[in-house]
């Protein structure tokens, strides 16, 4: 009798253990996912799926609680075109945040850490409904209104023999002639064309070719601000340097370590289908804008390296409007991401202004 009862006790203990542990885990799991209104988003490098889920829905004015979990490496989280600071998501830890939207629309969230070669593909969208839609703000990109083909080559029609200097240009003490003073004048025209026009202008008659180039550099510097350049520098370091290199030479660590993994793949509606079954939602209109050059990748051609901003033969043939368009839309048959849904208009221009430091900035 004693034996049987001790065996029974042992079996009860075993049953408790084998039931209690899985049950406790299951209850905790279920409770954590049910009791909270938060949406759990798993982040994985793009090759393993990117953000899961990649599409969220929210209502204007209703807080959207998010539990962000990285399933592999450190990722960052930010919502495009907003001023909120990015959040770091260490692997395996839960980071909570709450977003509240005051305008309906489609917002893009994205990874802010260089998590892998396909980092830029790590994007998702938040569809925000309800509320009064703001008056539709249809702003045609400047490159389109100026009729610039951002996919066409843009060789410089003139080149300086020495690196132009904005400081030297300023020290010349020459008032810029009409048509060269405003910011609009600078961003609409490639510097090489500006130089040719200035060269022909009577006001530069006594200047050497190099001095005219210095004036072109000064035109850039006088139409931007220190704050814009600082912001552009920070944006460049965060978003561009991994491919284009810290010094702008097109030799970033990712560009060097792997061939640019461009594979836009087949366009299907508003989603870009990429290999490994990864599908990224792309805001309406962007997919249509992806150039035909993407088709070259389907044919297996190796895409070109990231642009070299230190190369005057291409940079001085590009206007700011063209560069801004490339950043905005991406593509060009390269692995260049589209930054339109991520960066604000001001950020795009700050970044564009900063790119000229690789031509006109002080080398020191």
């Amino acid at each position: 009798m004693l034996r049987t009862s001790s065996e029974h006790l042992a079996r009860i203990a075993l049953a408790l253990v084998t039931l209690a542990v899985p049950l406790a885990v299951a209850v905790a799991w279920w409770g954590a996912h049910r009791s909270t209104s938060a949406v759990t988003i798993h982040g994985r490098v793009s090759e393993a799926g990117g953000w899961l889920p990649g599409t969220l829905r929210a209502v204007v004015g209703t807080p959207l609680r998010l539990r962000l979990v990285s399933d592999d490496v450190v990722h960052g989280f930010a919502v495009g075109r907003s001023d909120a600071a990015p959040l770091d998501i260490p692997p395996g830890q839960v980071v909570e945040t709450t977003l509240t939207f005051d305008q309906p629309g489609t917002y893009t969230f994205y990874c802010t850490r260089w998590c892998g070669p396909d980092h830029w593909r790590m994007r998702g969208v938040i569809e925000v409904s309800g509320g009064q839609p703001a008056a539709p703000e249809i702003v045609e990109p400047l490159y389109e209104s100026l009729g610039i083909d951002i996919d066409a080559p843009h060789p410089a029609s003139a080149l300086p023999s020495v690196r132009p200097s904005a400081e030297r240009g300023e020290s010349l003490g020459i008032e810029m002639p009409e048509g060269f003073r405003s910011r609009q004048d600078f961003i609409a025209r490639p510097p090489a064309e500006t130089w040719q026009s200035l060269r022909l202008d009577s006001s530069t008659r006594g200047l050497s070719d190099s001095q005219v180039w210095d004036l072109v550099a000064y035109q850039w510097r006088s139409t931007t601000t220190d704050a814009a350049l600082q912001e552009g520098q920070a944006l460049f370091a965060q978003n561009c340097a991994a491919c284009h290199g810290e010094s702008g030479g097109g030799d970033g660590v990712i560009a060097l370590s792997t061939p640019v993994p461009v594979s836009f793949g087949i366009l299907e509606g508003t989603a870009l289908s990429v290999p490994q079954g990864i599908a990224l939602s792309v805001p309406e209109g962007i997919a249509d804008a992806v150039p035909a050059a993407a088709a070259t990748h389907l044919a297996g051609e190796q895409p070109p390296s990231p642009a070299d901003f230190t190369d005057p033969s291409t940079m001085l043939g590009a206007s700011s409007a063209l560069l801004q368009g490339k950043i905005l839309r991406g593509g060009m048959g390269t692995g260049m991401p589209y930054w339109g849904p991520i960066l604000t208009e001001a950020q795009l221009w700050a970044l564009t202004d900063y790119l000229w430091t690789f031509q006109f900035g002080e080398t020191s």
Partner: protein, 451 residues
């Protein structure tokens, strides 16, 4: 030093004979196993944050290789949760015997006896070890798979055939348990010879016949004794003792070991070298290759692993014993050379594994508390340590500690090598080539640990 018979102390004996305390520890181990499997399946896939990988491959492995095996031998096998569900189903009881049980009780096929299957199982698991080590889900599936295999084996075959002939870790622990200062032995074999019913092997109302298929009276080493304590319970003549003894006492046996045991010793030395080089060495490309199962680089790694563990290390050792035979003017056969000298490598192998495991745990121990604080990745902070950063411990001092452990193993092995050579009347000259082999292995390990 004379062995100290722990079972002479009534309190210790009563604790060991009673089934309750052992069952309590076993149930705790089962709970731990279930938690690990659940966490592995449901928790974060990040290896450094999931208890499945952190508790098993950092905490348990270090505890096993640095403390349990060197000092307690196979004691872990007495509480290991993997075979318990199968064993309980087989017996139809958790405690004392109750009737026939449910197992078919077939004998394990004769051809599959010995350590060959275990050797193969160890090598196969070792080839996939890096993904298993880093991926909680794979760890959980491996453990659950082992439990299921153990259940199936227990229901078809007799006793603990799974542990004795299949468990990839079992053969490993058994080999190095020979160095441990703890043994289960009969006090007087003559008493066993006169005991007609041999209840230690056949079982009685008080306990089961040896689950490990060993007749305790013939025990001369710890290799196959699972410290399950059944013989202590079934011996009506109080002739079974659990003793503290000098470390490495088994290695002084004069009889040659079986060739599969000799081979195991060499495969494990080769594995320790590869693991130390891959996991603690400077090459991240090698680690990436070991992790990329199925890729061409992994195939190259697998080929290298097999080459070192199965061909190079055993081949070099064979060459060393053959050279020793020549210079020692001895007529030892190649096979007997392996069988005689391989056991002498046990201390060096154990030291290599202990040092590697210490290096690994020092580097990764700071993952343990965060993983426990949020065991299934729900954002909990049970211990207030969820955000504790990874802090590798040790530094230069630890490197030298690892080197010291390996050097102690080398010295200890060298002494045994010399004793074997002298037993074979080959003198010191016969030991020199085997010493050379041991120095080579030691140099490889020191390079990883210190250089």
């Amino acid at each position: 030093m004379m062995p100290i018979d722990l079972t002479r102390f009534p309190f210790v004996r009563s604790i060991l004979v009673a089934r309750g305390p052992q069952l309590a520890v076993q149930l705790a181990a089962v709970a731990g196993l279930l938690l690990v499997i659940a966490a592995g399946l449901l928790g974060t896939p990040v290896g450094s944050r999931n208890p499945a990988t952190v508790l098993v491959w950092i905490a348990w492995w270090a505890a096993l290789m640095i403390v349990a095996v060197p000092f307690f031998g196979r004691l872990w096998c007495g509480i290991c949760p993997l075979p318990l569900p199968g064993e309980w189903l087989q017996r139809g009881a958790l405690l004392r015997p109750r009737g026939r049980g449910r197992g078919m009780g077939r004998p394990w096929p004769r051809r599959l006896r010995g350590l060959w299957v275990q050797n193969a199982a160890f090598v196969i698991v070792a080839l996939f070890s890096l993904p298993v080590l880093t991926q909680p889900r794979l760890t959980a599936l491996l453990l659950a798979g082992l439990v299921l295999v153990a259940i199936a084996i227990s229901l078809v075959f007799e006793r603990r055939s799974f542990c004795r002939y299949l468990c990839p870790v079992g053969g490993f622990i058994g080999l190095y348990a020979q160095a441990a200062p703890l043994e289960v032995r009969v006090r007087d074999p003559r008493v066993c010879a006169d005991h007609t019913t041999k209840t230690c092997y056949t079982g009685s109302a008080d306990g089961y016949g040896c689950p490990w298929l060993v007749f305790p009276a013939t025990l001369t080493s710890n290799v196959s004794c699972g410290v399950c304590l059944e013989c202590l319970r079934t011996c009506p003549l109080d002739n079974v003792a659990i003793r503290l003894r000098p470390m490495g006492a088994d290695l002084r046996r004069s009889a040659p070991v079986r060739i599969d045991e000799a081979f195991k010793s060499l495969v494990l030395i080769g594995s320790a070298l590869v693991y130390a080089f891959v996991l603690l060495g400077p090459s991240s490309a090698l680690r990436a290759a070991a992790a990329a199962v199925g890729s061409p680089s992994w195939l190259a790694y697998a080929a290298g692993f097999l080459l070192v563990t199965v061909v190079l290390v055993p081949g070099l050792f064979l060459a060393a014993t053959r050279l020793g035979r020549s210079v020692g003017r001895n007529h030892l056969s190649a096979k007997e050379g392996l069988q005689r000298f391989a056991p002498a490598l046990v201390p060096l192998g154990l030291a290599a594994w202990a040092a590697f495991s210490l290096g690994f745990v020092l580097t990764n121990a700071s993952y343990i508390l965060p993983a426990l604080s949020d065991p299934i990745g729900l954002g909990w902070d049970l211990l207030g340590t969820t955000s504790m950063p990874w802090t590798p411990m040790g530094g230069t001092l630890a490197s030298w500690a690892l080197a010291a452990i390996v050097l102690v193993g080398l010295a200890w092995s060298s002494r045994h090598v010399r004793a074997v050579a002298e037993d074979l009347a080959g003198g010191v000259r016969m030991a020199i080539p085997v010493w050379g082999f041991s120095f080579l292995v030691t140099a490889g390990l020191l390079w990883v640990f210190v250089a």
